[in-house]
Every structure is written in structure tokens, then in C-alpha cells.
Symmetry: C2
DNA sequence: GGAAGATATTTTAAGCTTAAAATAAATCCC
DNA sequence: GGGATTTATTTTAAGCTTAAAATATCTTCC
């Protein structure tokens, strides 16, 4: 196997590009997982809820007339069965309701209850503050550069992993 | 609530720093999750295995004399119970073995079987190629900048989320 | 109208994940 | 030595996640 090498600095031993990419992925994964874990802890401690429930509520919050189970599934990029379980638990907590669609008896229309809406507004505000605080050391320029690299990563993956889905 | 604004460009309406940080987090999370999902599909299609199993094997690969369950748990940053389950499945597949430690009967020493080691060497080589391919469009300089931002993010989180753990 | 196919959702089986409880064994200390 | 504490691991209960199978309903087309 030929090791292709990108020369970064003539005085320093060059790192093979494959190793460098691997290092990037491990960093990307571990940093993101770490933040995600702390966000889960925050949601648990502060609101006694979970990230999937928060995400479902966030999707619903912007839909004035509610969403069907299928729309939620597609929006959240999770399976149908997943939405069924998360929605059941939110319904049990009184934060959402499900009712059959009037025009299509296969569909369930999911909407926030008034209590759910009020709760989520508090969650969203504190969530945004928490995230903002986490990245407080980043300048606007750094954030823009960071976002640009993430966008490029996403595009690169789509381009190079055609079979991926 | 006072909205603090960082002026990026005098001609363009400035985006509140809180919103910009939120946007960064959503990008970071979605890009990473997308790559992770495709990596899981790759491991499933190519080796009929999972990311947790791959990670456990990777940890074991570098430990010449094996690792205890507790060492695996700490190294992988997962709970003890988690390691128990993943190790059971790998053992059933004949890739690892567990034997009681000679000096401490509470401990299990986990080692790769010869078949496990041979299998993992193939996994690791293709995994590295897959990752490298995914990031093929990135220059060495971009990768370095990306890694630097991820390191800074991790440090920033640790600094600003003291309660997080 | 009614069969065939498509669509929406739930159920099922398997695996990953955690926190907390339970077990078992080692260590500390009097 | 032996009780108290600590440490290593497994078990348990709950939740998240998926793919695939099962249900129920709708749409198409003759």
C-alpha cells in the first residue's frame, strides 16, 4: 500500500494524510460526544427530560398546526418506531397530544398541549443560554470558520460515501 | 434580557452571539451524527459489526497483555455495565476471551483471540481508508485548523460547564 | 365495486446506554 | 483475626435506536 504524504513543513516529519484524517475524525467524534453528554446531563438536571424529547418538542414548537408521526420521523431523521416511543412518553407527561387526522384515519396529528408549549419555551431559552455559554470563548470569526468546515465536511461525506444511503 | 451583539460587518445586520453559537452546535451535532451513522453502516455492511464493538477491539488491540473490564470502561468512557454487554457479544463471536485475573479474583482480564486480532487488523485498515476517503477534499492545513477548533471547543466546554461532571 | 399496490403507523426483536442496586473480593485498621 | 470500607464487576430497570414484520387505511385502476 502506497502511503501518500502531504508536506506541511519541510523541517518536520510529515504525517500521512490517512493518519491525519483519522485524527480529525477521532477529535470530531470525541468533542461532539462530550458536549452532547453534558447537554443530556443539563436537560436531565434542569428539566428532567431527555435530548430526544427536547428535539421532538422543538420540531413541534415551530409547527402551528401540529405534525403527523411521519412528518416528525422525517424531520428528526429517526425511524417511525422511534417517534412512537418518544411521543408516548411525552404524551404520558402531558406535554403533547395525539389525535387521528380528520381526513386520513391512518395518520396521527401530534400537537403540544398548552402546558407543553409553556414548558418548552423555558427549556428553549435556557438551552440557548447553555450552548452560548459553552462557546463563550469563540469569536464570531471563529464560529464562522468552524461552521464553514462543518458544512464542507458534510458535503465531502455525501460526495465520497455514495453508498452510505 | 439584553442582547449582546458582536459586530462582524458594519453593513450586514449582526447575528446575536447566542444564535450564532446555537447554529454552530446544531451544525456540529448534525455533521458528526451523519458521519457516525454512515460509519455504523460501513461497519455493518463490511464486517457485520458495530461501532461499540469496533471501539472495544481497538482499545484491546493496543494492550499487549489485555485489559480488565474496569480499564476498558475507563478507556472507552462508558459505564461498567455497558462493557459487560458488549464484551459478552464479542466473546460469543469468538473475538475476545475473558479470564479471571490471577492476583485479584474480582477482575476479569480481557484479551483478543488470534482470530479476533486477525479480524481487527482488517477492520482497522479499511476503517482508516474509509475515514481518509471521507475527508479527501480537506487539505492538511484545513485539517489542522479543524482539529484546533475542536480542541478549543473541548477546552471551552470543560471551562464553562464545571457542573457537567 | 373490488383487487392490487402504496402509505402511515405500531409492534417486535435485538442491541446500546445509563444509573443504581446487588455481589464478590480485596484492603484498611483496630 | 475480623469488622468496616473500598473496589471490580454484574444485574436490573428504564429509555433510545433500528430494521423488519404486522396492521390498518387509502389510492389506483380495471
Amino acid at each position: 500500500m502506497v502511503q501518500e504524504v502531504r508536506v506541511v513543513d519541510e523541517k518536520v516529519a510529515a504525517v500521512p494524510a490517512t493518519k491525519q484524517a483519522l485524527r480529525l475524525w477521532l477529535r470530531l467524534f470525541s468533542s461532539t460526544t462530550m458536549i452532547e453528554q453534558r447537554l443530556r446531563n443539563f436537560l436531565k438536571d434542569r428539566f428532567d427530560t431527555t435530548l430526544p424529547r427536547f428535539d421532538l418538542m422543538a420540531a413541534l414548537y415551530r409547527a402551528e398546526d401540529g405534525l403527523t408521526m411521519g412528518e416528525l420521523s422525517r424531520w428528526l431523521l429517526v425511524s417511525n418506531g422511534n417517534v412512537t416511543g418518544v411521543a408516548e412518553r411525552l404524551e404520558k407527561e402531558g406535554l403533547i397530544t395525539r389525535r387521528p387526522a380528520p381526513n386520513d384515519r391512518r395518520s396521527q396529528i401530534v400537537t403540544m398541549t398548552p402546558a407543553g408549549r409553556a414548558a418548552f419555551e423555558g427549556w428553549a431559552r435556557e438551552h440557548e443560554e447553555w450552548i452560548s455559554n459553552i462557546f463563550a470563548d469563540f469569536s464570531a470569526k471563529e464560529i464562522d470558520a468552524f461552521v464553514a468546515l462543518l458544512v464542507k465536511a458534510k458535503e465531502s461525506v455525501i460526495k465520497h460515501d455514495k453508498k452510505g444511503k
